[in-house]
Symmetry: C2
Subunit: 248 residues, 2 copies
DNA sequence: TGGAAACCTTGATGCAGATCAATTTGAAGG
DNA sequence: CCTTCAAATTGATCTGCATCAAGGTTTCCA
């Protein structure tokens, strides 16, 4: 299971986002080397579980490519997505034994992982890694709380617009350049997964997407390919105050 | 405004929860002394703002007594509570300039504060403080995500039961002893504040509380004084899987 | 090339919770 | 003790989303 250790990349590494987002913002190169020693890659098929809620979780890591979701489920089967993991997002709970949620790959997924024990030891030795993790956890907390407003107070149409707006902005930040003009992207989620994120049913999601399309807020080609001709308009529909912060 | 600095207490201090919950789990006494030097107390009247969303926030701290809430508001006035601060809870975002939410005292409130700058410097010098903060932030993240399930997927009755169950458990952990038997506490929130937490209207909150009372799940004396004769029953009503974790 | 399975759309109907509207309760202050 | 005002309750009605149901599309594999 835990194989592919000692994967070596150059220190200018660009294939592993954890270097930039999670850990190595200000790393010295010998720290990088130590990280390389405990680093390995894992691949998951679309639909498979990365980890089950409650299971022992012996790694931390970040998404290299693909999409994963964090979900909670009640005994009777009602489920709520509590997080969306896009490339460069971090997963893991340093200092915690078990996983708190199901982590599911919704597309084929590659993750860059570090075994938890040595990662935690490295955290002890290099304080700025702990700071970077605190930073990231605060970001996630902000995103979760922003999402509480969406779940608690927004209408179905606003919820859909909020989700599209998040995905559009995330996508735009991954493929930079082309600052203005229409945004184009593919929805990485099924209607059902969107419903689980938004606290709706898949039928309502479908209807509201059709409505936004009918009203010219978005254009759809097939079921997944979206064009947003006017991002400002979409954000108005989401009920966001003007340019708002990054979610998720 | 920022006065009462250099408040001095003995190192066996029991009046300031930050010592135990936030910072000083494993402090050496000279670190405690340094903390004493930047520590001060602030009092707020019921209904007043501790901080406004977006304002510069130059302190961190923890609740000594009273209740505060974290809320977000949309332009049209819809509001969603995103956190509930009970005694011993920590507020503050080390490394962040501004406040992300309104923090409002819902009862008279006393906070134990540390000026942010020196607090952050102390964090640099004493790694276990950073670890403790990461720990606490992960707890808050869990609570926020647990609450996303409540907001997105639970019925009004389940939402009320969930909130009562959180408050009951928090209250029980503050006043320990009396392990079993009925739990008794006072609701620290108005019906409207509960509605803002639960994504409901105050009328629905009132109706569902009446219903839980009618069905014998809780007993009410006046509008605020609650007795829970059977905690297990309340948690069933909340839809929680058996004994579940601590929220908030 | 055809058939199955997964995914999506659209329609009809029902209901939980919102909204609108009176009262009632209870605490604070004169 | 009476007045006042915020907080809470309760009722009547409305509506947005869920639910139930019936196709339609796309993908993939035989």
């Amino acid at each position: 299971m835990l194989n592919e250790k000692n994967f070596v990349v150059s220190h200018e590494c660009s294939d592993c986002p954890i270097r930039h987002r999670a850990v190595c913002a200000r790393c010295e190169s010998d720290e990088l080397t130590r990280l390389e020693e405990i680093k390995y890659y894992r691949k998951f098929e679309a639909g498979s579980h990365v980890i089950w809620s409650g299971d022992r979780m012996d790694f931390v890591g970040s998404v290299v490519s693909g999409i994963a979701t964090l979900t909670q489920t009640m005994e009777d089967g009602r489920t709520q997505m509590v997080g969306l993991l896009l490339p460069s997002d971090f997963v893991g709970r340093p200092g915690r034994e078990g996983a708190a949620y199901d982590v599911v790959a919704t597309t084929d997924l590659t993750m860059c992982c570090f075994r938890k024990k040595p990662f935690e030891e490295m955290m002890q030795r290099t304080p700025h890694i702990a700071h970077r993790l605190l930073e990231m956890t605060l970001d996630e907390l902000d995103a979760a709380r922003e999402w509480m407003l969406v779940l608690g107070r927004k209408t179905a149409r606003e919820k859909i617009a909020s989700l599209l707006s998040i995905i559009a902005r995330r996508d735009a930040s991954i493929h930079p350049g082309k600052v203005d003009g229409p945004l184009v992207f593919d929805l990485p989620l099924t209607r059902e997964a969107m419903a689980d994120y938004l606290g709706l049913t898949l039928e309502t999601v479908s209807r509201q997407i059709s409505a936004l399309k009918r009203d010219g807020v978005i254009e759809l080609e097939g079921k997944r390919h979206v064009t947003v001709p006017n991002m400002g308009r979409l954000m108005e529909e989401a009920g966001d105050d003007s340019d708002g912060g990054m979610l998720v």
